[in-house]
C-alpha cells in the first residue's frame, strides 16, 4: 500500500439521488413489506379457510368504491401535473394541481368513512356480523357463508383501514407543503424536492389501493 | 439420573441419538480446532517488544478450504437427517397397521381416547365439547365412537406396536413431548395432526407439554405406561367394563 504510488480512484460521494428522495424510496420499501404482511395474511387466510368466501358485491358496494378508486387515480394524475408544473416553472399551476390532489385525497377518505358507517349500520364489523342486522339475515338465508364472515370482516377492515390511514397521512403532509411551502412560494424549478418526495409516496398509496380494490372488492 | 440423553424408549430414539452423536463429533472437532487455535495464538502471538505483526490481507486458498469443508459437511448432514426426518414425520410416514390413540389437549390437561373393540376412533368436533359431560367433543352420531374410552392424563401403550397419536387441541397450542421416545409434536387448535411412534421398552414415562400454554403449563403432565400386548388388552378390558354407560369426568 504505502510502498508503490497508489493509483487515482473515484471519490464515490454517493449516488445521484438527493437524500430526501432516496430516503423516501427506502421508506417505501419498508411500506411494501408492511402491506405484504397484511395482504399475505389475507391471501393465506382466505385460501386456507374451510368453506368459501363471501361473493363480491354482496357486502361491499363495488360502484361507490370504483368511483373512489377513480378519484384516487385522478389525484395521482393531478400530482404528476403539479410536479410537471413546478418543474417547468409555473408555480401557480403547481399550487392549483396540488390543491386538486389534496381535495381528491380528502374526498377519498371521506367516502371511505361514509362507506364504513354504512357497512357498520348493515352489521358488517371487524369481528364478522352483528346479531339481528341486515347482514345476519343474509347469512341466515345462505347468501353469505357464515364460516368465513369473521375473517372477511377482520381482513377487510384491517387492510382498507390501514390504507385509509396512509391516505390521510398523505393528505396531511400535502396540506402542510401547500400551506407552508407552496403558498409562500418556497418552491422553484431548482428546488421542489418536497413535491417530488410526497408525489412518490402518493403514487405508492395509489398503487396499493388498486391492488386492494382488486383483491378485496372484485375477486 | 442419566448424564447423557434420556434412556431410549422408542424406535426413533436410537437413530436420533446416532444423529446427535454424529453432529456432536463434527461440531466437537470444530470446537476443539477453534478454541485450541485461539489459545495457541494468544500465547504465540502476544505482544512483545520489537515484534511486528505479519502484514497480509488474507489467503484465497485458505479461505476456499475453510469455505468448502463446512459446505460439504453441511450438505452431507442435510441429506443424512432428511432421510430420518421423512421416516418420522414425512407425509406418508405413518405405518398402515398403526394403532390409533386420540390425544386431546386443553389448558392444562391431556385427554387420551382409546378405540374400543372396533379398533376405530370416533369422530370428534370442537363444537360438541362440553366441559362436564363430553370433554373431548366426541360425536355421538358416529358409531365408531360409542365404544371409545376416554382417560384423563394417563397414556397407556402396547409395546412394539406402531401407535399413531391423533393430536387435537381445545384452546391454545400445546406440545406433546415424551423425552424417552424422542417424540415431540405441537398440538394446534383447529388442526388434526398425526404423529406416530413405537414404544420398545415396557415401563412408565411422562408426557410433558413443551409449548407455553398458560399459567398451568408446568402442571400439564400425563403419565405414560407402556404395557406388554397382553397387559394392555387386560387394561383396556378393565377400562371398558368401568366405562360401561357411565358419565366420565
Amino acid at each position: 500500500m504505502a510502498g508503490a504510488m497508489s493509483p487515482p480512484f473515484p471519490a464515490e460521494r454517493g449516488i445521484e439521488v438527493y437524500n430526501k428522495k432516496l430516503g423516501m424510496w427506502i421508506f417505501l420499501a419498508s411500506e411494501v413489506m408492511f402491506f405484504a404482511a397484511l395482504i399475505g395474511s389475507y391471501v393465506i387466510l382466505r385460501f386456507g379457510a374451510t368453506g368459501e368466501w363471501a361473493k363480491p358485491g354482496i357486502v361491499l358496494s363495488i360502484q361507490i368504491t370504483a368511483f373512489n378508486t377513480f378519484l384516487l387515480i385522478c389525484s395521482s394524475v393531478s400530482m404528476v401535473k403539479a410536479y410537471a408544473a413546478i418543474q417547468d416553472g409555473f408555480p401557480d399551476k403547481m399550487k392549483f394541481w396540488l390543491l386538486m390532489t389534496i381535495l381528491g385525497g380528502a374526498a377519498f377518505v371521506g367516502i371511505q368513512i361514509y362507506e364504513y358507517i354504512h357497512l357498520i349500520e348493515h352489521g358488517f364489523v371487524p369481528s364478522g356480523f352483528t346479531e339481528g342486522s341486515h347482514l345476519a339475515e343474509l347469512v341466515e338465508n345462505g347468501t353469505l357463508p357464515a364460516a368465513t364472515m369473521g375473517l372477511y370482516g377482520s381482513t377487510f377492515y384491517t387492510m382498507t383501514g390501514f390504507h385509509g390511514f396512509h391516505v390521510t397521512c398523505g393528505v396531511v403532509s400535502m396540506l402542510y407543503l401547500y400551506l407552508f411551502k407552496a403558498l409562500p412560494g418556497k418552491y422553484t424549478p431548482q428546488d421542489f424536492g418536497g413535491i417530488e418526495v410526497v408525489g412518490l409516496y402518493w403514487h405508492f398509496v395509489d398503487l396499493v389501493w388498486i391492488i386492494l380494490f382488486t383483491i378485496v372488492y372484485l375477486v | 439420573m442419566h448424564w447423557w440423553l434420556p434412556p431410549q424408549g422408542s424406535t426413533f430414539a436410537q437413530p436420533i441419538d446416532t444423529m446427535f452423536t454424529w453432529i456432536l463429533v463434527i461440531t466437537g472437532i470444530t470446537f476443539v480446532l477453534v478454541e485450541v487455535g485461539l489459545v495457541w495464538f494468544i500465547f504465540a502471538y502476544r505482544e512483545r517488544p520489537g515484534r511486528k505483526a505479519f502484514y497480509t490481507h488474507g489467503s484465497t486458498s485458505a479461505e476456499v478450504i475453510w469455505t468448502a469443508i463446512p459446505a460439504v459437511t453441511m450438505v452431507i448432514l442435510g441429506l443424512m437427517s432428511n432421510g430420518l426426518w421423512v421416516k418420522i414425520k414425512g407425509r406418508n410416514s405413518v405405518p398402515a397397521n398403526a394403532y390409533p390413540i386420540g390425544v386431546y389437549a386443553k389448558q392444562f390437561e391431556w385427554y387420551f381416547t382409546y378405540p374400543g373393540a372396533d379398533g376405530k376412533l370416533g369422530r370428534v368436533s370442537p363444537s360438541l365439547v362440553d366441559k362436564n359431560s363430553n370433554p373431548t367433543g366426541r360425536d355421538p352420531a358416529d358409531p365408531a365412537g360409542t365404544d371409545d374410552i376416554i382417560v384423563r392424563n394417563q397414556l397407556h401403550l402396547p409395546v412394539n406396536r406402531p401407535v399413531v397419536a391423533i393430536l387435537t387441541a381445545e384452546d391454545v397450542i400445546h406440545s406433546f413431548y415424551v423425552p424417552e421416545f424422542r417424540v415431540r409434536q405441537d398440538v394446534v387448535p383447529g388442526m388434526e395432526i398425526k404423529s406416530w411412534f413405537e414404544a420398545t421398552v415396557p415401563g412408565s414415562y411422562e408426557v410433558g407439554c413443551s409449548q407455553l400454554c398458560g399459567l398451568g403449563h408446568y402442571k400439564m403432565r400425563a403419565q405414560v405406561t407402556v404395557h406388554t400386548q397382553a397387559d394392555y388388552h387386560a387394561w383396556l378390558q378393565e377400562r371398558t367394563a368401568k366405562a360401561q354407560g357411565e358419565p366420565t369426568s
Partner: protein, 588 residues
C-alpha cells in the same frame, strides 16, 4: 441538500450555541442520540437481568419465598412466593426487554448512530430530525412496555414469541390490558427502527466522505448497513403482526382464532419471518464491531476483508429463507421442514468463514490484550459454541427432540450473550473515549471481563446438559416431572452462577459511571486505530469535523511495511498518495 446541511454544521463545529435542551435532550446530533440510546439500553439491560434473576430463583428454589420478594405486590408474589402467572410475565418480559430494548437498541441504536457518520466521514446523519424521532419513539415504546408490568393483571404472559391464540385471548392467558400494551409498544418500536434504518441506509449510501469507497468502509459500517436493510424489511412485518394481534383484542377480529377459520400458525409464520432476520440483526453488528476490535488488538489487517463483507451479506440473505426452522414441530408441512433445514445448515458456511477469518487475523499478529480485545476474543470463542450448537437444532430429527428445551435456551444465550453482549461491552470500552473524552478503567475492566466470562459459562453451559435431559423451557416448577427432579441441583448451580454473573455486572456499571467523571482524559487516538472517528478530538465535537476528511486507504492498514508506526489512519495522506478525483457531490 447534504452539502448545505454540511456547511451549516461546520460553522457550528466549535462555537456551539445550542441551548441545553437542544444539546442533550431533543438533540439532533447523532452522537448525543447514540449516547441517549446507550443510557436507555443499559437501563433495560439492568431491568431485563433483574427479571432473569427472579426466574433463576424460582427455578432453583421452586415455591420458596424469594429474598425481597415480599416487596412485590400480592398479585405477583404473595408472601414472596412467585406466582406462575408472574413467572410467565418474567419470562415474557425478560425476552422482550433483552431482545428488543437491550441488545437490538444497543447495536442499531447506539453503535449505528454513534459510529456510522464518524466512520464514513460525515457531519451527521442524512436526516437528523428523523433520527431524533427514532430515539423518542423507542423511548415511548420502552416506557409502555415497562408500564405494562404494573397494570391490572400485569403484562403479557405468552412468551416473547407471543404465540397465538394464547396471546390473542385474555381468557386463555389471564392477562388484561398488559397484552394490548405489548402490541402497542411493539408498533412504536417498529416505527422507531424503520425510521432509524432508512436514516442509516441513506447516510451510508450518500454521505460517505471523499475516498470512502464501498470497499474501504470498515466492517462495522458494512454490518450496520446490511443490518439496517434487514431491519427495514423485517420490522414492518412484525408491526403488521402486532397490529393484527392488537385488533384481535380491541376489535374482536379472528386472524388467529381457529373457531372462526383463523390460523394460529399464521402468527408463527409472520413472527418468524421477522424473527429470523431479527436474530441476525442481533448478531451482525456485533460481528462488525468484533472485526474492529480484533484487527486493532492484533495490529494486523483483517484476514480476507472482501469475504468478510460477502459473508455478512450471505448471512443476511440466507436469514430471509430460514424462518421455518423455528417451526419444525409446529404442524407445518414436513416437506417445508426439509427445505428450511437445508437453508439453515447453509448459514453455517458464512458463519464459519467469519470465525476462521478472525482467527486468520490473529494468526501471526502482535496481540495487545486490552479490554476490548479480550471481549473480541471471547466473542469468537463463545459465538463458535453458539453457532455450533445451532447445527443440532438445524437437523430436523434432532430438533424434534431438543426443540423448546434448555438446549435452545443455552444456544440462544451463547449467541446473544456470549456473542452480542461481549462485543457490546468491548465496543463500549473501545469507543468510550470518543463518546465522553475519558478512558474506562483498564484494571477493573479486566476484572469485569474475567468474572463475566467465568460465571457466564458456569450459568449457560450446563443448560446444554439439562436440555439434553429433556428439560422444557418456561416451566414454573421443573420438579413436577419425575425425570427432571434429579436435575434440580444442576438448576441450583446454574442459578448461583446467574446471580454471580449479574453481580459482576455491577463492576461494569460502577466503572462506567466512575470513568464518566473521573476517568483519565483520552487522547485523540488512544487505541492507535485507523478509523476516521479517531481523527477528530475526543469527545467528538458537534459536526465532528470542521472540514470533512479525505480517505486514502482501507481501514485495516496495521503494521504496513514502510509505515513509521504499526498503524496507518485512513485519512493520513502519505507523500505517495494521490487525492481522489472528486465527482460532484450528490443532491441539489
Amino acid at each position: 441538500m447534504t452539502t448545505v446541511a454540511a456547511t451549516a454544521h461546520a460553522t457550528h463545529a466549535h462555537h456551539d450555541d445550542r441551548s441545553f435542551i437542544q444539546k442533550y435532550i431533543f438533540s439532533t446530533d447523532h452522537k448525543v442520540i447514540g449516547i441517549q440510546f446507550l443510557f436507555l439500553t443499559l437501563f433495560f439491560l439492568a431491568i431485563g437481568g433483574l427479571l432473569a434473576m427472579q426466574i433463576r430463583w424460582q427455578l432453583a428454589y421452586p415455591g420458596k419465598p424469594m429474598p425481597g420478594g415480599t416487596l412485590l405486590p400480592e398479585t405477583m408474589a404473595p408472601g414472596g412466593v412467585l406466582l406462575p402467572e408472574y413467572y410467565l410475565q418474567l419470562v415474557t418480559m425478560h425476552g422482550t426487554f433483552m431482545v428488543f430494548f437491550a441488545i437490538m437498541l444497543l447495536l442499531v441504536g447506539v453503535y449505528a448512530n454513534f459510529l456510522i457518520p464518524l466512520k464514513i466521514g460525515a457531519h451527521d446523519m442524512a436526516f437528523p430530525r428523523i433520527n431524533m424521532a427514532s430515539f423518542w419513539s423507542a423511548f415511548a415504546s420502552g416506557a409502555v412496555m415497562l408500564a405494562s408490568l404494573f397494570v391490572q393483571d400485569g403484562s403479557s404472559r405468552a412468551g416473547w414469541t407471543m404465540y397465538a391464540p394464547l396471546s390473542a385471548r385474555h381468557d386463555y392467558s389471564g392477562a388484561d390490558f398488559g397484552q394490548e400494551m405489548w402490541s402497542i409498544s411493539i408498533i412504536l418500536f417498529g416505527l422507531s427502527s424503520i425510521l432509524g434504518s432508512l436514516n442509516y441506509i441513506t447516510t451510508v449510501i450518500n454521505n460517505r466522505c471523499a475516498g470512502m469507497t464501498w470497499f474501504r468502509m470498515p466492517l462495522s459500517v458494512w454490518a450496520l448497513f446490511i443490518t439496517a436493510i434487514l431491519g427495514l424489511l423485517a420490522v414492518p412485518v412484525l408491526a403488521g403482526a402486532a397490529i393484527m394481534l392488537l385488533f384481535e383484542q380491541i376489535l374482536g377480529t379472528h386472524f388467529f382464532d381457529p373457531a372462526a377459520g383463523g390460523q394460529p400458525i399464521l402468527w408463527q409464520h409472520l413472527f418468524w419471518f421477522f424473527g429470523h432476520p431479527e436474530v441476525y440483526i442481533l448478531i451482525l453488528p456485533a460481528m462488525g464491531i468484533v472485526s474492529e476490535l480484533v484487527a486493532n488488538g492484533s495490529r494486523k489487517p483483517i484476514f480476507g476483508y472482501h469475504s468478510m463483507v460477502f459473508a455478512i451479506a450471505g448471512i443476511a440473505f440466507l436469514g430471509w429463507i430460514v424462518w421455518g426452522h423455528h417451526m419444525f414441530v409446529s404442524g407445518m408441512n414436513p416437506t417445508l421442514g426439509s427445505s428450511f433445514m437445508v437453508s439453515t445448515l447453509l448459514i453455517a458456511v458464512p458463519s464459519a468463514i467469519k470465525v476462521f477469518n478472525w482467527m486468520g487475523t490473529m494468526w501471526r499478529g502482535n496481540l495487545r490484550f486490552h479490554v476490548p480485545m479480550l471481549h473480541g476474543i471471547a466473542f469468537i470463542a463463545m459465538f463458535t459454541i453458539g453457532g455450533l450448537s445451532g447445527i443440532f437444532m438445524a437437523a430436523t430429527p434432532v430438533d424434534m427432540f431438543i426443540h423448546d428445551t434448555y438446549f435452545i435456551v443455552a444456544h440462544l444465550h451463547y449467541v446473544l450473550f456470549g456473542g452480542s453482549l461481549f462485543a457490546i461491552f468491548g465496543g463500549i470500552v473501545f469507543w468510550f473515549p470518543k463518546m465522553f473524552g475519558r478512558m474506562m478503567n483498564e484494571g477493573w475492566g479486566k476484572v469485569h471481563f474475567w468474572l463475566t466470562f467465568i460465571f457466564y459459562n458456569g450459568c449457560f453451559f450446563p443448560m446444554h446438559i439439562i436440555g439434553m435431559a429433556g428439560h422444557m423451557r418456561r416451566l414454573y416448577d421443573p420438579t413436577v416431572y419425575d425425570f427432571l427432579k434429579p436435575w434440580q441441583p444442576m438448576n441450583e448451580f446454574i442459578s448461583i452462577n446467574a446471580f454471580l454473573l449479574y453481580g459482576s455486572q455491577i463492576i461494569f456499571f460502577v466503572n462506567f459511571w466512575w470513568s464518566l467523571f473521573k476517568g483519565k482524559k483520552a487522547s485523540e487516538n488512544p487505541w492507535e486505530d485507523n478509523g476516521l472517528e479517531w481523527s477528530c478530538p475526543s469527545p467528538a465535537p458537534h459536526g465532528n469535523w470542521e472540514t470533512l476528511p479525505t480517505v486514502y486507504r482501507g481501514p485495516y492498514e496495521f503494521s504496513a511495511p514502510g509505515a513509521s508506526k504499526d498503524y496507518l489512519p485512513q485519512n493520513l495522506k502519505l507523500p505517495t498518495d494521490r487525492d481522489p478525483v472528486l465527482t460532484p457531490a450528490a443532491g441539489h
